[in-house]
Structures are given as C-alpha cells and as structure tokens.
Amino acid sequence: MVVQTPNGFNLDNSGKRIVVDPVTRIEGHMRCEVNVDDEGVIRNAVSTGTMWRGLEVIVKGRDPRDAWAFVERICGVCTGTHALTSVRAVEDALGIEIPDNANSIRNIMQLNLEIHDHVVHFYHLHALDWVNPINALKADPKATSELQQMVGPNHPLSSPGYFRDVQNRLKKFVESGQLGLFKNGYWDNPAYKLPPEADLMATTHYLEALDLQKEIVKVHTIFGGKNPHPNWLVGGVPCPINVHGTGAVGAINMERLNLVSSIIDKCIEFNKNVYLPDVKAIGGFYKNWLYGGGLSSQACLAYGDIPENPNDFSPEQLHLPRGAIINGDLSTVHDVDVRDPEQVQEFVDHSWYTYGEPGKGLHPWDGVTEPNYELGPNAVGTKTNIKQLDEEGKYSWIKAPRWRGHAMEVGPLARYVVGYAKGHEDIKDQVDGLLRDMDLPVEALFSTLGRTAARALESEYCGRLQKHFFDKLVTNIKNGDETTANIEKWDPSTWPKEAKGVGMTEAPRGALGHWIKIKDGRIENYQCVVPTTWNGSPRDTAGNIGAFEASLMNTPMERPEEPVEILRTLHSFDPCLACSTHVMSPDGEELTEVKVR
C-alpha cells in the first residue's frame, strides 16, 4: 500500500522487508527495517530505538547542582555536552550568571568535544562505510604517497616508506585474524568505490586520528580536573586560575594554558591538512552517490551555541547559528524559542509511552515519561522476540519531538543549512569553497555526503573558534580577572521555592535541550530531548516520518542482504542512542542480523 506522508514521502511497504538489528558502529542500540522494491530501491523505512532510557526518573528528587554528574553518565561519548546543558538549565532556572572566564572555558571545552567527536566519528565510525581497509593491502605505497602530496600537500607524513610501514602493520593485524575493529564489513560489496591507494591513505589517517584524539581530550582533563567524565559546576567552571604559580594545587597556570594552546594548534593543523582533504578526496569518488538527504532540504532545526559573551543567548551573539527552516523554504529562517509551549512538543502515538490520550503533544516542561510497551496488530513475533515491527502501531522507545508540528533534522548539516540560509559569513565561505573545489551544486549538500562534509567543515570552524576563545581567556586573565565561578546563589536557601529553566547546547550530533523544574531545592521534573530523539524519531500522529527514516527513502541498494547503504546513511547522523546493550555471541563476534523477509 502506498501512503503519502504530510512531509511529502511516498511510503510503500509492499516489497521485500529487510531488518538490520542492531545497527553497529553507533552508540547504543538501534534497529532498522526497510522495504525495497524489485529494483532494490528503499520505498519504506522504519527506525527504532530498542532500549528504554529513563534518565528522567533517575535524577528526580536529587540536588539540581548534582544533575550534571548523572547526565554525564548517560553515554560514552557526549558526556561533557550533557553536563554543560544540565548546568545551563539549572542556572537558567535560578537566574545564575556565570563570569566571562567560565564562558570562555566552557566554549573551549564544548568546541573541543565537537572536534573530538567529529574526528572520531569520521575516522572510526563512518569512514568504513566508504573506505575499505582490506583493499588498502593492494595499494602501491609510492602511488599513495603521490596521492597524499596531491590532496594534502602540507601534511608532513607522506613518504612512500611511511605508507609501506603502515601497510605492513595493517597486513600483520589482518593476518593475525584479529580483524577486531574491521569486522562485520562487507568488503567485497561493489558499493565501495575507492582505489586501493585512497583506501590506504584513509586507513593511515585512521591511525593518525587515533593518535590525535588522545591529545584532544587532554583539554578536558585540564579544565575539568579529570577525564573521562570531567567535573562541572553550576555557576561557572570548577577550575581555579592562578597564573602566578602560587596558590591552589591543580589551578590553571601558564604551563597548562600553553598545553591547551598547543592542542588547539594540532586540531587546526589536522583539520586543514588531513580531515578536510580526506573528505574531499573520498567524496570525489562518490559524487554520483548523492542519496540520503532526507529532511535536510526541507526541515532543519538548530538551537545555536557558543555564546560570545556569558549569559547572552540571543541569536546574533551565537557563533553556531540558531534557527528553524520548514517546508523547504530556505529564504525564511524562523527564530526558535524553546520555552514556547507551542514550538517544541513531543508525541508518543508511535512510541512505547503513554500520555493517557492519543494525538497529544507535550512541551518538555510538562513532559511525562510513562512506559507503555505494546506492539501494533501487524507486528510479527512476540513482545520479547520481535521479528518485524508494525509501524502503524507503537514501535520505538524514542519519542517523536516536533517543532511546530514538523519533523526536523538536527546536527552539523542542519546547523550548516540554517547558517547558510541566514548568510552566516564563515559558514557560507566554507560551504561555497567546498562546493567549488568539488565542482558540485549547492543541492549536493542535501545528502549523506553533505552531512559528512558539514561535519568536517564544522570541525575546521570549531578549531578557529577554539583559538578565539583561548585568546580571549588569556587576555582576560592578563588583565587581572581570574574569576571562574559565581557562587552567590550556591546555597539553596537563596533559591525560590519553585523554579523552572532550560539549558540548550549544540551537541556534536545536534540540538540538545534539558528542561528542569525545581521545587523545594530538589529536582521535580527533568526532561532531555536529545539530538537522536529528533533524528531517530518514529512517525508522529499526523504520519510524518523522522529524519533517519526520510534519509533512507529512495536509496538504491547494491545487495539488499548487505546493507552498506543503510549503514552509510544512518552513520552520517552519528546516531547515539545512549543506552546499554550490544548483542554478542559466545565467541565474541557481534551479531548483526540482517533478515530479508
């Protein structure tokens, strides 16, 4: 049966059903089902989060000043972003203003996390959708060296001997049967288009990126006191500054600041000489594969982030843009007010929750997280062993957030589309430059590859912003301001009896909001709407499909039983389902089941 969704997609679930479960190389647990037609083209897509995440329940009744420590444990990747969002929500509720240094340090940490996440995502979670490390064994090191010097002439590691060494290391690794990191690949699938030399170059950079990411995270240790799970503070940052070398142990001194500065420079170099050239070089071989745009050309949402000055979140003060685009109208960017009960609402008609009545949308301040696990009438299997979901009924643990009723894409591409539409100078320059270099029209942006490219551009931009805030911090310290926290309202006796607030960030994966209600000094209600809730949302009451589902539509698959194309597009969102379980067999192999029904 063919159904047209209000957001313009023709869904046809009559063809062969393919189930991919779990989707690997993501954070958390996710399942995907699609129907393909006789030509192997995807005509219906169903994405589902298969794990309950009742974080809201866990922080209820706790001290709001501690909420960051709990939300930081939601997952293994964007830990700091959740903590930052949480302290912002509490500060918003209680009217706490943070000092200038705290704003600069938080921005440096947040930008650092964006870069870390983007680099790790591209090389370690996503590259293998485009790059074939097994094919790299066939490469000629000399030709690889020439390729390197052509695409990234300023990168010092480019000799034939260097690539030969890496190739030998790789060979040893593969021959030892430890395929570990590279297992579960469909390495002979014709969807892989790179010549062996490009595969070797990219695989080599995979290793270099591993080395770099170890350095990047040291910024979190310096400012957060520890890593993993750095420390945060309502009212500022928990690191005293003392550049005169006397005073508290562990205070930020010049030596530490110099280390931060050198790490920032390394990020900038890597983005410029390796990451961006790689995206262009790899993308160049896939210019005919411009699928996966989904909602990006019609509905994008960004909350904005990286305020130039503390406590000022007005759109013109934010380095990462805020705005909403709907109905494919790029000439109008709507402002976003996350407090407005009419704007952000979550629906649960197709989610395993209940609000007591159908068709209802709730603003997160009034959010309810009450589970209701039931399968639709046409589901195959049982509640404890689902063979096939029924998307007509409830089918996901993810709620369906909507902006004024629209399903939205969030993330680096959404930020860049919003920025581009607003005429954001840095973003426009970057995007136009990339399109020119690759000889592609602006429409090419609305694709899986566009999402991947936006992430690389953003990483480069974040590197420059990091430097900006570092310089700002140092200037401010040199001018004698060493304040990092405002503790005027630390004591709960200074708080109102009831308060509510919202914290917003642009997490690496997209718009992130935490809504908090405080009563008698304790958390009364806490709701997180995370980026993957937006992108991975199931259908809503009106039948609109979410960004993951939309992005899979109309993509041709080379071999439906080898879902390279599905993984490629889903990975381009960097899904993070922030939960807990992977399915493993007794011999330690990850069991991804691909079922064709």
Partner: protein, 202 residues
C-alpha cells in the same frame, strides 16, 4: 624503574551491577595508598577516551562486571592474552564492546600495556536503569580488592593502608553511598524490552 600501573574500574554506574568496577576502585582508594607510579581511575562508560591512559601504563588492572555465564557474584580473573576474548564473551553492555575495541586499538598502535589483569564479577542484574549494586555483587567488592592486592604484590607493586588518590575517581555526588541513597526503586526505573536485553524475561 617502577612499572607504571593503571588500576581502573569500568562500567556504567546507572545500570545496577554494571557499576561494580567503578565502585571497586572507589573502595580501593578509601583503604589503600600507593606510590606515584600507580594511578587509580574511574573509566566510566568511555571507550576511546581511555587510550591515553593505556598508552602510559605498563600494567593494566581492570575491575568490571563481566557476563561469564557463571552464578551471580562469582569472581573470575583472567590475564594478558585472555583478556580481550573474555571481554567479548556473551551478552555484553555498551562499554565492553567499547573497551574491547580500546584494547584492539591499543594493540594495533603498539600501545597496549604489557600486562593485563581483568578482575571480573558475574552480575546478577544489569537491566535496572537507575538501580544500584545487588547484594551478591556488592559483597564481592572486598574479595575483588584482595585479589587485586595479591596480584599487585606478585608484580612487586607497593601499597600500604591509607587513602588513595581520588583525583580521577567519580564526582562525590555520584559515589556509591550518595548514589544509593537517592536512587529510584526498580519499579519506577522500569524494565521492559525485547528478550535479548532481558535474558530472564523469556
């Protein structure tokens, strides 16, 4: 020269018995002091973030909740080459896949510690989000520390009664006692889903 020793607990404290490893290191720091060559670390739920710590270590001792298919609360110690295989055994949680990858990555980069010791405890319950350690697992914290001290002694690593360095442990608001006192009941925390996550449910 003294070997550099990393003593790390991994797991997600929000997932009931998954918190075993992190709690072991907390307890260790409450009772034992070490020289500067030993680092105590809350590894939490993180994967690649842990690489820089592995790179610096000669000896890695990990506490973790591991599903060996044994009776709940059973301690099992595996060493060196056996460690990665065991960490990939049977039904596993997010961080273990992560940590197995971390070890594989460290090996690929020739940065894996020479000696690996995994002190694992068979969990009773992992699927109680917001829950705490079950009694049978909690009782194994002290025995696990005994094992760790014995292993450290064999390697010539010094320790003495006292306080360990808590710099790299979890923030106090989420330490064992604070966490347990404020957590919701199992009913509130909800357990529902498909049977691959809920081995006892089917």
């Amino acid at each position: 020269m003294q070997p550099k020793v990393l003593i790390m607990g991994i797991g997600n404290v929000l997932w009931a018995d998954e918190g075993f490893g992190v709690r072991c290191v907390e307890r260790l720091a409450e009772a034992w002091a070490f020289d500067d060559n030993v680092q105590l670390l809350d590894g939490g739920t993180q994967g690649l973030y842990l690489l820089p710590f592995l790179e610096e270590a000669d000896v890695l001792l990990v506490f973790d909740a591991v599903d060996y298919g044994l009776p709940a609360g059973t301690l099992k110690i595996v060493k060196d080459d056996e460690v990665p295989a065991f960490m990939g055994a049977k039904k596993m949680s997010l961080h273990q896949t992560g940590f197995q990858d971390v070890i594989a990555t460290a090996q690929l980069m020739n940065q894996c510690p020479e000696r690996l010791i995994l002190i694992g405890c068979q969990p009773e319950e992992l699927e109680d989000y917001g829950g705490g350690l079950r009694a049978v697992v909690q009782r194994q914290i002290d025995p696990a520390i005994e094992v760790a001290l014995h292993e450290l002694k064999q390697l010539g690593v010094a320790y003495r009664p006292g306080k360990g360095d808590e710099t790299d442990l979890a923030h106090e608001s989420i330490r064992h006692t604070a966490y347990e006192e404020g957590r919701p009941s199992a009913e509130e925390a909800c357990r529902t889903g498909d049977d691959r996550f809920f081995p006892q449910a089917s």
